[in-house]
């Protein structure tokens, strides 16, 4: 047979290779090398980490392709990059420069308030954020080959990531116990494609890999998310906004591998220096929240 590229198995498969790993936000080649050296399984190339996007305000867009290419040259691990929700031309540009994964991300300012990108149209795989099972299955229906919780990016407050992970995991548990005749109503009530609802019931999990993101700042946060049932962790501002990025990055990598071993978690949590200055996500005004972007 002819070799086939860009298949669903290929797209989902790369995310499966990232499982049990940490994907770190980096803004230049130097940070990318620190992340790789610390054991990151991939990096997310972007011009500003979410904490700075929040502080700066204004419109946040796809990063300069030249900056992303420099990061791709600097490391041997996969490189992801973000495009705005619904901005399929930013996605075409990122695909053409050869990024390994695109994050259609609420951290950037949405380009379309009604439609997400039809991700099946691309050869490059996409990751998208979700707050609940319906949102996850809508994105997978559009072709997302990997999911992550939205959490509340750039806060260093894990509470929203916990809320979203518990919501998805709880819904899967509920679906597993349902009769087949209850599935259509469930699909309707959650705005989720029926075929995918059925698939989740059969698999007992999402049909794609599901990571935590949005507010993870410490090894304990990362292990908490793993114990709640995610497959791996994104850390955005939490590493390079902390006192000792290399040490914290290594500690979070170790905490994701040994997430069930409290004595190792205690060891890696020692003397990490200052964590990023947090912002309390629960008390944040609605307009400042990123998780409400997209549907």
């Amino acid at each position: 047979m002819e070799a086939k590229t860009g298949t669903w198995t290929e797209k989902k498969g790369l995310a499966q290779m990232l499982k049990g790993g940490v994907i770190m936000d980096v803004v230049n080649a130097e940070q990318a090398k620190i992340a790789e050296e610390a054991g990151a399984c991939a990096v997310m190339a972007l011009e500003r980490v979410p904490a700075d996007i929040r502080a700066d305000g204004g419109v946040a867009r796809m990063s300069d392709p030249d900056m992303i290419l420099k990061i791709m040259d600097a490391v041997s691990i996969p490189v992801m990059a973000k495009c705005r929700i619904g901005h399929f031309v930013e996605a075409q540009i990122l695909e053409s420069i050869g990024v390994d994964y695109i994050d259609e991300s609420e951290v950037l300012t949405p380009a379309d308030e009604e439609h997400h990108i039809l991700k099946h149209n691309f050869k490059v795989p996409f990751v998208c954020g979700c707050r609940n099972i319906g949102e996850a299955l809508r994105r997978i229906g559009e072709g997302a080959a990997m999911m992550r919780t939205k959490g509340e990016a750039g806060t260093g407050d894990v509470v929203e990531a916990v809320r979203h992970a518990r919501s998805v995991v709880g819904a899967i548990r509920q679906l597993k116990t349902m009769n087949d005749e209850e599935l259509m109503a469930y699909a309707k009530n959650n705005g989720a494609p029926y075929e995918l609802v059925k698939e989740v019931k059969e698999l007992g999990r999402l049909p794609v890999v599901n990571f935590a993101a949005g507010g993870v700042a410490t090894p304990a946060d990362a292990a908490l998310m793993m114990q709640l049932g995610v497959d791996g962790v994104f850390v955005g501002s939490g590493i390079f906004k902390s006192g000792d990025p290399a040490k914290r990055a290594q500690a979070i990598v170790k905490s994701v591998t040994h997430y069930q071993d409290a004595s190792i978690l205690a060891e890696v949590s020692k003397n990490l220096g200052e964590a990023m200055v947090g912002r309390n996500a629960s008390q944040m005004p609605e307009g400042e929240r990123l998780a409400g972007r997209g549907w």
Binding site: E10, L14, M17
Partner: protein
């Protein structure tokens, strides 16, 4: 029969699912003590740099080398890189197999591909003759083999994608991502 799967990072749970289908007892290996009593070990796909660094940090390098002298080990993709002697760059390697490997040999993710392979050894071992459907993801190739290592499979252009040296096995592709259990059956026969 008890097979361990190195569970530092990567798709170890996919290998465990395949082994369970075949009725094999499995163990997730994260620390040297987890190697006790195993008949064989699978090193999964993932990021070889991440797996190597964690193996160094948790003092697994020497125990894994010792284990490989006596037992079967199979590395898929990142695992094949980790088993090799030489990859032309500096990162932790077990150096158990006489193979030279090139990482990301086909390019980036958009170049990742699926294709069918003819693997005579596998046909013989499993009494089958239909092609093996292989999934390559940012895959390495085995540039060359030496010593007692034999080539199990190559692409039409001659690039080597599977090799075996005694009870050590390396594949650039991911049998754990398919429903075809023949490679896992073959490995279990090496571990017995």
């Amino acid at each position: 029969m008890k097979i361990g799967v190195l569970a530092l990072q990567g798709d170890f749970s996919e290998h465990i699912t395949m082994l369970k289908k075949l009725g094999v007892e499995t163990v997730e290996v994260r620390l040297p003590k987890h190697l006790a009593g195993l008949n064989g070990l699978i090193i999964p796909g993932g990021e070889s740099t991440t797996i190597g660094k964690l193996a160094v940090a948790y003092e697994l390098m020497e125990p894994l080398r010792e284990f490989g002298k006596e037992h079967a080990i199979w590395g898929t993709c990142a695992g094949a890189i980790f088993l090799s002697k030489d990859i032309g760059r500096d990162q932790p390697l077990l150096g158990l197999m006489d193979i030279k490997v090139q990482r990301n040999a086909f390019g980036r993710q958009v170049d990742s591909f699926e294709t069918d392979l003819e693997i005579d050894e596998l046909y013989k071992a499993t009494g089958t003759e239909h092609p093996y459907h292989a999934v390559f993801i940012r895959a390495p190739i085995i540039e060359s083999v030496s010593g007692s290592t034999k080539i199990l499979s190559a692409l039409a252009d001659g690039r080597i994608v599977a090799a075996q040296q005694g009870r050590l096995l390396a594949t650039s592709f991911h049998p754990e991502l398919t429903g075809d259990t023949r490679f896992h059956e073959y490995f279990i026969s090496l571990a017995s």
